[in-house]
């Protein structure tokens, strides 16, 4: 029987299986095991979490394959890894290693300021960040199988993720209600592929799942993003930069599953210790805003 690898259904389907779950950034096998034990649906293997990338400065690249391999050997949940925007070779290396999902990520220093990866060329699926529907549709057009808000990574400040989730969802609602003869103009205004907007209008929703990312630091932050319509949550620095990672990881997983159970979230938030230290977005210079990377 003929067997087709890397089809759209297989790549998007993988992300659909992650829905309602939390994907956690980890930098070694030990953290990966803590994440898995807490109920993470996947882990993102990195050399540094975003807040440490901010501190370290310089060029942030794909993680050392040794770290990725260590994490892959440590857990049975899927392992994701980040490649620089437009860095075809980093992405191909991660694919060859058997990573389950690649994040073409603005957290790393872009390799190409003009072109994102042609993700439909790969067998491995990709997740990409977006701030609005234009960006979301362009990434889908290039073959992204999953979206996430860009937020502002490594800040522990949810405000940008909220902005991006609300914006995308409002724009999707607008497209869904539009007349067919208005769609091309909307595509022009958004800089979005017309075909993708047509799909959205027909389906009544985005054709891929959309997670929250970039600033989730507490159980209530995760619940808020689910409330706003996120399909799931990425937590970067929020877990392993908190006072007690196990507790935060457990609490964020539960708050994501039961995001409208406020008694539970209240209980979960007690005695957690302090969350990661946050950054006020207006204190970031333009050059420090990771969300401005990519287009």
């Amino acid at each position: 029987m003929e067997k087709l690898l890397g089809t759209e259904a297989v790549k998007r389907g993988m992300a659909q299986m992650q829905k309602g779950g939390v994907i956690m950034d980890v930098v070694n096998a030990e953290q990966a095991k803590i994440a898995e034990a807490s109920g993470a649906v996947a882990v993102m293997a990195l050399e540094r979490v975003p807040s440490d990338i901010r501190k370290a400065g310089g060029v942030a690249r794909m993680a050392d394959p040794r770290i990725v391999e260590e994490v892959m050997n440590a857990v049975s949940v899927p392992v994701m890894a980040k490649a620089r925007i437009g860095h075809i070779s980093e992405a191909r290396v991660l694919e060859a290693m058997g990573v389950d999902y690649i994040d073409e990520s603005e957290v790393l220093t872009p390799a190409d300021e003009e072109f994102h990866l042609l993700k439909s060329d790969f067998t491995v699926p990709f997740v990409c960040g977006c701030r609005d529907l234009g960006e979301a549709a362009r990434r889908i057009g290039e073959g992204a199988s999953m979206l996430r808000t860009k937020g502002e990574p490594g800040t522990g400040n949810i405000v940008e993720a909220v902005r991006h989730m609300r914006k995308v969802n409002a724009q999707v609602r607008k497209v869904v209600r539009m007349n067919d003869d208005e769609l091309m103009t909307e595509a022009k205004i958004l800089g979005a592929p017309y075909e993708v907007l047509k799909q959205i209008k027909e389906a009544g929703k985005l054709p891929v799942v959309n997670f929250a990312a970039g600033g989730v630091a507490t159980p209530a932050d995760a619940a808020l993003m689910m409330e706003l319509g996120a399909d799931g949550v990425f937590v970067g620095s929020g877990i392993f930069k908190s006072e007690s990672p196990e507790k935060f990881a457990n609490a964020i997983v539960q708050a994501t599953t039961y995001y409208t159970d406020y008694d539970l979230i209240g209980k979960l938030s007690k005695e957690l210790g302090s969350a990661m230290k946050g950054i006020e977005i207006s204190k970031l210079g333009n050059e420090d805003r990771m969300q401005e990377r990519g287009w």
């Binding site: 029987m1 003929e2 067997k3 087709l4 690898l5 890397g6 089809t7 259904a9 297989v10 389907g13 993988m14 659909q16 299986m17 992650q18 829905k19 309602g20 779950g21 898995e36 034990a37 807490s38 109920g39 993470a40 649906v41 996947a42 049975s76 949940v77 899927p78 694919e95 058997g98 990573v99 389950d100 999902y101 067998t123 491995v124 699926p125 997983v253 539960q254 599953t257 039961y258």
Partner: protein, 198 residues
């Protein structure tokens, strides 16, 4: 007869996709987030997702015994992918035993990692036309006892099976527009309901 209600365990995974299929067949659905909701449904789907995560949530929200009790009442359960892992008596390469409701030994991620995930046309017992089967980091049944009815194999591996009131598939019917596999389950639920009335 009142309209059948099919529940979908709502802890994590591809939940809405099953709900859509249930509605397409003209039945009612209920997303199960609390154990007491199990009493309101005639059959239950354990959806695809991450089996490790789902098991953690099953324990944390005390679903373990209620799920076994649901099965003990003879009410049908359909497990897709991760759901199949949860229903198995044994997991290869692991000491973990989950719900232990079906006499099968299951190998997780048996076809490889995500890059090995695939789509194929699959012959399924009692379905006239092949089924477009989507396998995502899928498990397969390595061995099954004699009372398990094999419904489909791929490359010599068992990928769909039935035992009494339990149905499992390695692949994801809910990711297609094809309701025929879910119909197999719905027929099991209907038969069970008739039996209960008798």
């Amino acid at each position: 007869m009142t309209k059948l209600t099919i529940g979908v365990l709502g802890l994590q995974g591809a939940i809405e996709e099953h709900v859509k299929h249930i509605h397409d067949l003209g039945l009612q659905s209920l997303i199960i987030k609390k154990t007491e909701q199990l009493g309101e449904v005639d059959g239950l789907i354990l959806p695809g997702g991450e089996s490790t995560t789902m098991r953690k949530l099953i324990d944390r929200y005390e679903f373990f015994e209620p799920l076994k009790e649901f099965s003990n009442q003879g009410k049908p359960i359909f497990g897709t992918c991760a759901g199949m892992v949860l229903l198995a008596k044994e997991i290869t390469d692991s000491n973990t035993i989950h719900l232990n409701l079906m006499d099968i030994s299951v190998k997780r991620n048996a076809f490889g990692r995500q890059v090995d995930s695939f789509v194929t046309k699959l012959d399924v017992k009692n379905l006239k036309q092949p089924f477009n089967a989507i396998f995502i980091r899928a498990p397969y049944i390595e061995s099954a006892s004699e009372n398990v009815e094999i419904l489909a194999t791929y490359d010599g591996k068992i990928v769909a099976a039935k035992q009494d009131h339990i149905l499992v598939s390695s692949f994801h019917p809910e990711l297609t527009d094809d309701n025929r596999f879910l119909e197999i389950f719905v027929n099991m639920v209907k038969e069970q309901k008739v039996d209960m009335v008798r």
